[in-house]
Symmetry: C2
Subunit: 339 residues, 2 copies
């Protein structure tokens, strides 16, 4: 079984290819009767146009590319979920790639997407991406680009983020309001913007409350994973005993690692040490104790990102100038039993 083409239909109906094409496209200059004959036959043969030919001619692909750092990640899988739903509803396909936090690979994947002729690109950058030539290339090619979550501030394109500074600031302020003074911070990798911003939020909250910033209370969790959190908690206790009131962490997974260590050492949460995460993973609602966190609204971020992308793609098609948008998704503190 092979795919039907316009030519076959034209031959059967003894019409020209262009007439068949016009009938299908609903052009007015086709007789009602011819149109009907064509539609009936294409229906019964379940004809669908060859998308390669269409793309070659129209220079569009009805496809968007998405690059994320990692798939196995509650936050990103939720974002992808939202993107797939929205793309689906527009009859667009999604080509998904993951950079595995590898800047080189990310660059290669951008080339692949450009080569593949996608109509737009959604990206969340790898932590190791410090050079943005590949993003500039996308822009030079005049392909709409929307960065989300892990963005590059200086690249001229639309962006969707949360306000990481404010989110962490609010989180730490909450801990302070609760009476905590010695608040440790488990920070993420040094380079990514949102890692920096969350750290700044932490520092600013201390400052605004006249609590001296103590660098010895900051623990680096470069991979921001369970193990990093566990190890950091171990170091924290070795360094400071339980003179610490609370821990705020770059992400829930590190916080959960810390909780695990504290549980193991019979350090009570929140009585001895309060713990506050970031991202509100599903997991956080079911561990013991349940973890308070910052809800990042991944679904909304995915929806907004692809909405803006479609906006830009529409504008481009209409020949309008594209205005880049910068959306900040709101966050909420989700309180549970860990603080």
């Amino acid at each position: 079984m092979t795919k039907t083409t316009l030519k076959e239909i034209a031959d059967i109906l003894d019409l020209s290819i262009s007439t068949v094409s016009k009938a299908l496209k609903g052009y007015p200059d086709v007789s009602q009767q011819t149109k009907k004959r064509v539609l009936e036959l294409t229906e019964s043969l379940s004809y669908t146009p060859n998308t390669f030919a269409q793309s070659l001619r129209s220079r569009t692909s009805k496809t968007i590319g998405v690059i994320i750092p990692a798939m196995v990640h509650y936050f990103f899988s939720n974002i992808i979920d939202a993107i797939l739903r929205e793309a689906e509803s527009r009859d667009y396909m999604v080509i998904l790639m993951q950079s595995n936090e590898d800047a080189q690979l990310e660059k290669k994947q951008v080339d692949l997407l450009l080569k593949k002729g996608v109509d737009g690109i959604l990206m969340s950058l790898s932590n190791k991406t410090h050079n943005f030539e590949h993003l500039q290339k996308i822009i030079d090619y005049n392909i709409p680009l929307v960065l989300f979550d892990k963005i590059a501030k200086l690249v001229p394109c639309s962006k969707v983020t949360i306000d990481d500074i404010k989110a962490s600031y609010d989180a730490v302020q909450f801990l302070i309001n609760k009476g905590h003074q010695r608040i440790a911070y488990f920070r993420g990798d040094l380079n990514p913007q949102n890692s920096i911003d969350r750290f700044l939020g932490y520092k600013k909250a201390l400052e605004d409350n006249d609590i001296a910033f103590d660098p010895s209370l900051v623990y680096l969790c470069p991979d921001a994973d369970f193990k990093d959190g566990y190890t950091a908690a171990e170091k924290l206790i070795n360094d400071h005993g339980t003179s610490i009131d609370a821990v705020h962490s770059i992400t829930d997974l590190t916080a959960i690692g810390a909780i695990n260590y504290f549980n193991k050492k019979n350090i009570r949460i929140p009585e001895d040490i309060a713990v506050l995460g970031f991202s509100n993973w599903f997991m956080s609602s079911i561990i013991t104790p349940t973890l308070s966190s910052v809800e990042q609204n991944a679904g909304k971020m995915g929806e907004e990102s692809i909405r803006i992308l479609f906006d830009e793609m529409d504008s481009k098609q209409k020949g309008m100038t594209i205005k880049h948008q910068k959306i900040v998704i709101d966050t909420q503190l989700v309180l549970r039993n860990s603080c």
Copy 2:
């Protein structure tokens, strides 16, 4: 900036398009010097061929389609992870779709993939898929198809699964060896094959150990989620108090729901009730108590699935007859503190 074409290169070098094409393809009938000139220019212009034109001509797309029931799922995101890595290494792109457990949508997505001209399709069926015409359509179009995890036994194509019967059998046998006799089962939806098989494994293990099967110990968890597990545990205790020794569950998430309920009611795990899950989610290693489970090797399943798909695609290209494969991925009991 627009993409370079063969014609532009030919014009610049004052050659014909076909000579340029042949030079790039490494044909022998091009002079060394010409070849060198062409390669240097294409390099400096960073020429890449237009994939639509290539696809139109070659009738291949270097793209595979993947349909899964849900993205936000530890098991599936691990499988996708493996698929993306392997496709990447072969310079293939992956179009990803999720059926959201909706048979109608799944059918539509198959049509989209066929229309899009993918070279092969990987699918894990929705729980509600009981009609397989869309799969037959893929086969009729002569597109290689590999089903994984959620398969349809009777559809003639390659399949990658685990031995669900054996996996659950072994799990229950382990509980019995530990001395448990009154073992409840939280079963999944009634229709999916692996849900059925796991249930059969449970029954068979009881039977082989001369333990009477008691239908009142089976609780239906149609969505196999946290809430279902929590509710089932609640019912279980209401129905049977703590006369039950152990619970085996269709998946970790339901088991975790149950653990949550037991913890809340101060029912001790494993002293009062042992709990044994299925799938070995990451989460299971960090809850309290840590959950014993059946490791399903998602990564391996993803790797094998796409390996077979590439096998079939290669065979098809070479005009060889395609032999369908049936791979069973091994599983292991992962013991932790819940039983």
